[in-house]
Symmetry: C2
């Protein structure tokens, strides 16, 4: 199949498929006589693997490692698990950061009447917070 169909059936855009090939995440695709990229069902499976792992928030670097492990019959599942646990830790940190922002903002917002007058606990809250900077 051509790149368009591979894109449609994998959920990875044509643009990205070419990009992944150019950075070495994917091995170079077969080419037709006219130079079109040609994909097999196996290639499609790899593309879907990438789509799935992207949607789980892995970076392309991590996906490269996951792909190697996936294709390595002699892998240790411990290696896979370690990679995944590290990624979970990253997610946890990110979630904690965002949640902390959310909490602060929610507190400020709930103190703000949100009317036509200029008095705003949100802005004065931020302004005060500023004062405690290095």
């Amino acid at each position: 199949m051509n790149i368009g169909e591979a894109a449609r059936r994998s959920g990875v855009s044509s643009k990205m498929i070419r990009h992944y090939e150019s950075i070495g995440l994917l091995v170079s695709a077969q080419r037709s006589e006219s130079g079109y990229r040609v994909y097999s069902e196996k290639d499609l499976h790899t593309l879907r693997f990438i789509a799935t792992t992207r949607s789980l928030g892995f970076s392309l670097d991590e996906i490269q490692k996951l792909l190697s492990l996936w294709q390595d019959k002699n892998r240790s599942s411990a290696d896979v698990k370690e990679l995944v646990l590290n990624h979970i830790a990253d997610l946890d940190q990110k979630i904690a950061e965002l949640t902390s922002m959310r909490t602060t903002l929610q507190t400020l917002a709930s103190a703000c009447s949100g009317n036509a007058r200029p008095d705003c606990p949100i802005l004065s809250g931020i302004s005060t917070h500023c004062a405690n900077r290095p």
Copy 2:
């Protein structure tokens, strides 16, 4: 004060101060005779405002709006609140996405024995998930 001190005292790097000026987030700083940027306490307050709002996850576009509102004596607090509530909604969506990833990964990881053998529920889980793609 020079840019270095402003950076140290605001928590915004010199690099970023120049960048913010170049994209119009900050008005051009005063210059000394020799061309050095010179900052006042008022400028410092603005820089700290930016540092604080960045740390709350606002984009530079949103910060520009917040800065205008902050400096507008005729603002409506409703406008501030709306901006903040929208940002909270963005955060909520992001948190939900990350949490969903986390949940999936945690489930897969806890099924994986993480030993020296290749059998890996994480990889087979991902591989299976692939099959259900468009």
